[in-house]
């Protein structure tokens, strides 16, 4: 048995996921909570974005189950020993991607190295492009066979995707058919025609696109480096996929970390007014007046000093990198909680003058109970909107901060670190474009989906904040 490892961010990440599930369960039973999310589910854009976000989240979750892999027993009577390395479930699933390292750069789907080298041939040493160790290694004659092999693999991928897709459609149609009492086949056609209150056609279309992309990539990745390899020969696709977790952690945990303080202080400032309000306003104005990047830079520098002087406090490199990631989330939270706090204060200032709050106060209900029962439920939508709106900005911020060396630990896989490592590659001849494009592309898709989804959520939860008509 491998020994499970629960890193700090894993624990918080799973907590967040559990909170989401709990909220979903609660919202199912309450009409007024369900209504806005039904409106979100009716939006075609939101459904398509949600499919993309869900596939990212799946990778992120799989990549958050960490453990020490078991090593082969050392001797006949030695028990099982465990590696100090920390792997995730995702690493196991992608198999060879992690370990199959080439010597240096190779282009996407290439069979030969990017750089010329001296090759020992039967006719003596010759300068040429050596074959890759893993990429296309199964081909006897790469120049001739590669195109056929690629087409075959793409076709297999599409077939696999079609199989999974039909299975999903069959399950959905079966459930729908049983509820409506109609044959499953007709339900399937109805689902594809979108004859339902929800945009099922868009749902299955976007599922199809995502599935085809995943399956084709998986088939190709079994024999090639789909997005090439970087300077030290590491597979770029693997790095980009591993970076998903970092991006998601920064995007979600930052808001989660700052949420308790922001909600508590914002609500208190608006509700109690007077000197409490003054104090809290002073606090967030002061923090807000320090430019965010500089505060982060200062805090990360101090963190580096602390780590350098207390190296013995960390059990493993992974743990140290993880704590730094969590610290980055916390400090990003410190720089971004003020806007939510201000919004909440303003809203509570309005709420406290409403009749039902005044009535509760007149009845002598305790402040804490008034806040819990009458005020908090009425500001939840603001919190939710902030969480989804902030997400994309934070993902983008991670890349910039890592680029400036004040982001995540250099050993953590992240899009910012990938871009940072590849900053001079475009200047090579021929240009090494794949690392950069992979990082930027993966980030772009996530941020775009998050932006589109956030807009719909905002319109559904608070029509007054609507910017599009």
């Amino acid at each position: 048995m491998p020994v499970p490892v629960l890193l700090a961010t894993d624990a918080l990440f799973f907590t967040l996921f559990a909170l989401l599930l709990a909220f979903a369960a609660l919202a199912r039973r309450r009409d007024h909570l369900r209504a806005p999310w039904q409106a979100v589910a009716r939006s075609r854009i939101a459904v398509a974005a949600a499919v993309v976000l869900a596939s990212y989240a799946l990778v992120g979750l799989l990549d958050s189950v960490h453990f020490h892999p078991r090593l082969e027993p050392a001797g006949p009577h030695g028990g099982a020993t465990h590696s100090t390395e920390v792997l995730s479930l995702f690493d196991v699933l992608v198999g060879g991607l992690r370990t199959q390292k080439e010597k240096t750069y190779s282009a996407p789907l290439a069979t030969h190295l990017y750089a010329k080298e001296a090759i020992e041939g039967p006719a003596g040493a010759d300068r040429g492009y050596p074959r890759l160790r893993y990429g296309g290694a199964h081909l006897a004659d790469p120049e001739h066979d590669r195109a056929d092999d690629l087409v075959l693999r793409i076709a297999q991928g599409i077939a696999l995707a079609a199989l999974i897709w039909s299975a999903m459609l069959a399950v959905a149609a079966g459930r729908r058919g049983r509820r409506a009492g109609s044959p499953a086949l007709r339900s399937a056609v109805e689902l594809l025609q979108g004859r339902s209150p929800y945009p099922t056609r868009v749902l299955f279309l976007s599922l199809a696109v995502v599935l085809v992309l995943c399956c084709v990539t998986a088939r190709l990745a079994a024999g090639y480096h789909v997005l090439g390899t970087d300077k030290v020969g590491q597979d770029v696709l693997y790095q980009a996929l591993k970076s998903i977790r970092t991006g998601l952690v920064i995007g979600t945990l930052t808001t989660l970390v700052m949420l308790p303080a922001a909600v508590l202080l914002g609500v208190m400032a608006g509700y109690f007014r007077g000197w409490i309000d003054d104090l809290i306003q002073y606090l967030y104005t002061t923090l807000n007046s320090i430019p965010g990047v500089l505060l982060i830079a200062a805090a990360i520098l101090m963190m580096q000093v602390y780590i350098a002087n207390h190296e013995e406090a960390f059990a493993s490199v992974a743990e140290r990198a993880d704590l730094r990631l969590l610290f980055l989330c916390a400090i990003l939270g410190v720089t971004s909680w003020t806007s939510l706090c201000r919004l909440l204060r303003g809203e509570v200032l309005k709420l406290r003058e409403l009749d039902y709050v005044q009535a509760a106060q007149a009845f002598g209900v305790r402040h804490f109970t008034v806040l819990r029962r009458h005020v908090l439920p009425n500001v939840v939508h603001i919190v939710l909107i902030t969480v989804v709106l902030d997400f994309s900005g934070l993902v983008l911020a991670e890349a910039v901060l890592s680029y400036v060396n004040i982001g995540v630990d250099p050993t953590t896989e992240s899009w910012g670190n990938m871009i940072n490592g590849a900053r001079l590659e475009l200047a090579r001849e021929p240009a090494v474009w794949w690392s950069l494009s992979a990082a930027l592309g993966f980030m772009f898709v996530l941020v775009l989906a998050a932006n589109l989804f956030a807009d719909v959520v905002r319109d559904a939860l608070d029509p007054r904040l609507r910017t599009t008509r």
Binding site: P291, L294, M302, Q304, Y306, N309, T468
Partner: protein, 325 residues
């Protein structure tokens, strides 16, 4: 009016003191000067003597808050808090950890930063407002929908992409302008074109979307309907009424960032090798020069608070309904 401005400035003082205390805690209490010295000297060849001499050289060998050994007023003034933190209020920035005069460096590097930030702001404003007006002119058509989608797409692209892509396309493939560098006087222009262009492009998505929302809000107001009813053309309505009224939130929103233009842009300046305050900050972070980072944190806060005060004043200037309270 003068009394109002004075009062607003007085409000800023406790906030600045707060910022000062935060930076002091962050830089001297979380990690002691000893830790800093060890970090700077490298972990290997560290001994008590080296640490002590490093601290003496950089003036970190005083006690933090109270110097019991010093005579008279020196009990308070001969401390790190007084020397390193309180002196910032006099804009006396002292020396960087590598021994240079920070105040002089800032004075030198401020101009290249401004040379990029000001054109980016002005050109960006012009372009974004024109685009937003154009979109509002075609409101509720497919052009409108397409433009909004395009804005969201532009917003979703990382700022790093605009810089890297722009440098590759314009600098390397087309070879129109040098990729990076800087020069004095008018010769700097050819180095500035590309960063300014990229700065403008990377801001288009978010700004156009915001301005479009502001314009749309105005378009549906009563006075606009009145203007149409009395027979004004669409152009006169747009420029004479909608633009003039929507400009109030746009311009006051910009006032707050005006002072911060001095600080320059971290990314742009470091990519294009422009010797401004942005690249100054980045270099300081890379070299772990705590003195410079501390000064930049303080300077940034001062400029931000100045921006807030200016915003309040500008509100009262452009909108007579806002009273001087």
């Amino acid at each position: 009016m003068i009394a109002y401005i004075l009062r607003r400035l007085l409000y800023a003082i406790p906030i600045l003191i707060g910022v000062n205390v935060i930076t002091f805690v962050l830089f001297f209490v979380v990690n002691t000067p000893d830790d800093m010295a060890r970090m700077q000297l490298g972990q290997k060849r560290v001994n008590e003597q080296a640490v002590a001499s490093w601290k003496r050289e950089h003036g970190y060998d005083r006690p933090l808050l109270v110097n019991a050994a010093a005579p008279g007023l020196g009990k308070i003034t001969d401390t790190i808090f007084f020397e390193k933190s309180l002196k910032l209020f006099r804009f006396d920035f002292g020396q960087s950890d590598s021994g240079r005069d920070i105040g002089y460096d800032i004075g030198q590097r401020m101009w290249p930063s401004l040379a990029i930030a000001v054109p980016v702001l002005l050109v960006g404003l012009l372009i974004n407002i024109s685009f937003a007006l154009l979109i509002v002119f075609f409101r509720a058509t497919y052009i409108d929908v397409g433009a909004v989608v395009l804005c969201v797409v532009l917003m979703s692209i990382s700022g790093l992409f605009y810089i890297i892509g722009g440098q590759y396309l314009v600098g390397k493939l087309l070879r129109l302008v040098p990729i990076s560098g800087y020069d004095t006087g008018l010769a700097a222009a050819k180095f500035l074109v590309l960063p300014v262009f990229i700065g403008v492009v990377s801001g288009i998505g978010a700004s156009v979307r915001l301005y479009r929302a502001l314009f749309l809000e105005e378009v549906n107001k009563d006075y606009v309907r009145t203007a149409r009813a009395k027979g004004l053309g669409e152009g006169a309505v747009m420029f004479g009424h909608v633009l003039r009224n929507a400009l109030i939130p746009i311009l006051t929103g910009i006032v707050v960032v005006l002072p911060l233009l001095f600080m320059g842009s971290l990314l742009t300046e470091s990519f294009f090798g422009i010797p401004g305050l942005g690249s100054y900050t980045i270099d300081a972070i890379d070299m772990q020069d705590f003195a410079i980072v501390r000064v930049m944190v303080f300077l940034g806060s001062v400029l931000y608070i100045l921006g807030l005060v200016l915003t309040d004043i500008s509100y009262t200037l452009v909108d007579p309904r806002v009273r001087l309270a």
